[in-house]
Symmetry: C2
């Protein structure tokens, strides 16, 4: 199976602007990408990064106190980077059109992704179907495409649109039930999930490590959990 991880190299995580600087957003986006690539590599697949700009993966994997190479790989250089500066939907569809065989598309901000959750996704879906791990708000956080005519459209409620599209082309659709794959890190509230669940399954979470180095920690106020930043 081809496993593609799209990455917006130039405009990372703008919805985190209120709590982290542009440079820090780049750091966090790269830490998340490294975590996702490591989790994919641990399932036995070599991912392909579909990046909007050239990207040196050695830099992506450089993070204090953590391995600079994902498990199962000799070097980050083993991971191919395909540059396509078109918007996400167009770039992914070009990949789907060119591909022979099943393709999995895994968003680069699924910082809680584990090998177990990804393996469940990769094994899901009928031989001519589509399997989707939805995110909150109808997002398509990760999917496996085995039907040759299926194309993505990430705008709006993409999960609902993808479900309708699959029905139109006669592709059986399976929904993959995963809290970890359902959690994409877009907004400050999502950082709570990284600090609670990141690196809790025996793997190391570069994203959680970076967040803690940036001074983020959990705070409970009035029975609700948020993140606070104690230093910068």
């Amino acid at each position: 199976m081809h496993v593609v991880v799209p990455f917006a190299a130039n405009t990372p995580k703008t919805r985190l602007s209120d709590v982290v600087s542009p440079t820090e957003r780049t750091t966090l986006a790269r830490a998340m990408l490294a975590d996702v690539l490591s989790a994919v590599a641990s399932t036995g697949h070599v991912p392909t990064v579909l990046s909007t700009a050239p990207l040196a993966l050695e830099n992506v994997f450089s993070c204090d106190n953590l391995p600079t190479t994902p498990p199962e790989l000799e070097s980050p250089r083993e991971i191919p980077v395909t540059v396509d500066d078109r918007p996400l939907t167009a770039a992914v569809n070009a990949y789907l059109e060119a591909a022979t065989g099943p393709v999995a598309i895994v968003m680069a901000d699924l910082a809680l992704a584990t090998p177990a959750a990804l393996s469940m996704l990769f094994d899901a879906g009928a031989a001519d179907g589509v399997a989707i791990a939805p995110g909150r708000g109808g997002g398509t956080n990760a999917l496996v495409v085995r039907h040759p005519d299926f194309r993505v459209d990430y705008h709006g409620s993409s999960y609902v649109d993808h479900r309708e599209h699959a029905a139109e082309i006669g592709a059986p659709l399976e929904s993959v039930d995963s809290f970890r794959l359902g959690t994409d890190v877009d907004e400050p509230a999502d950082l709570v999930e990284v600090l609670i669940h990141g690196g809790r399954d025996g793997t190391q979470s570069r994203t959680a490590t970076q967040l803690r180095e940036l001074g983020f920690e959990l705070e409970t106020t009035d029975g609700r959990v948020t993140v606070v930043r104690t230093e910068s």
Copy 2:
């Protein structure tokens, strides 16, 4: 296994106040409870409702166009209701103290719960351990307690607290990875999830049906999905 579904009969879903009236909140809370009880019954377990006040389950299961009795049961009367007007934590701990054998505690607002997701939870965890399906923000949406000394504390980041408590008493903890069990319906934004995913697996969703009868539907604006209410 004992499966307990705590239910706040008198103060349902106050965080939905901005979008639904008190009467409608009661209707929605009961629809969610009925969906959860049906899903539990479909796993082969007879749930117990742990209610803060007396409750007639016939009324809970009365919903236009939907079966008034959950599958696997002859009548809602088969489901026992235990009344305990203490706060959630105290009531659940009293149940745990009195129980012999494993106990599952499933929140009544897990409107997306399916038999498959609940079966995964019920099968999880070590023989002397605890299994938790976390919700967003560190909540404990559902858990299975097999260690006799484990007690709950639902205040604050209960998932983190429960993880620490399990470690303290030497109970192995397993986290159950489920988007469906991870989605509790507390706030208006959560209604999006019910309208997208409710009743999509061959079962009927009383909650989604009620929401649609109350005039709620999905709306996509600026690429984000929300609910709007078109009639009342």
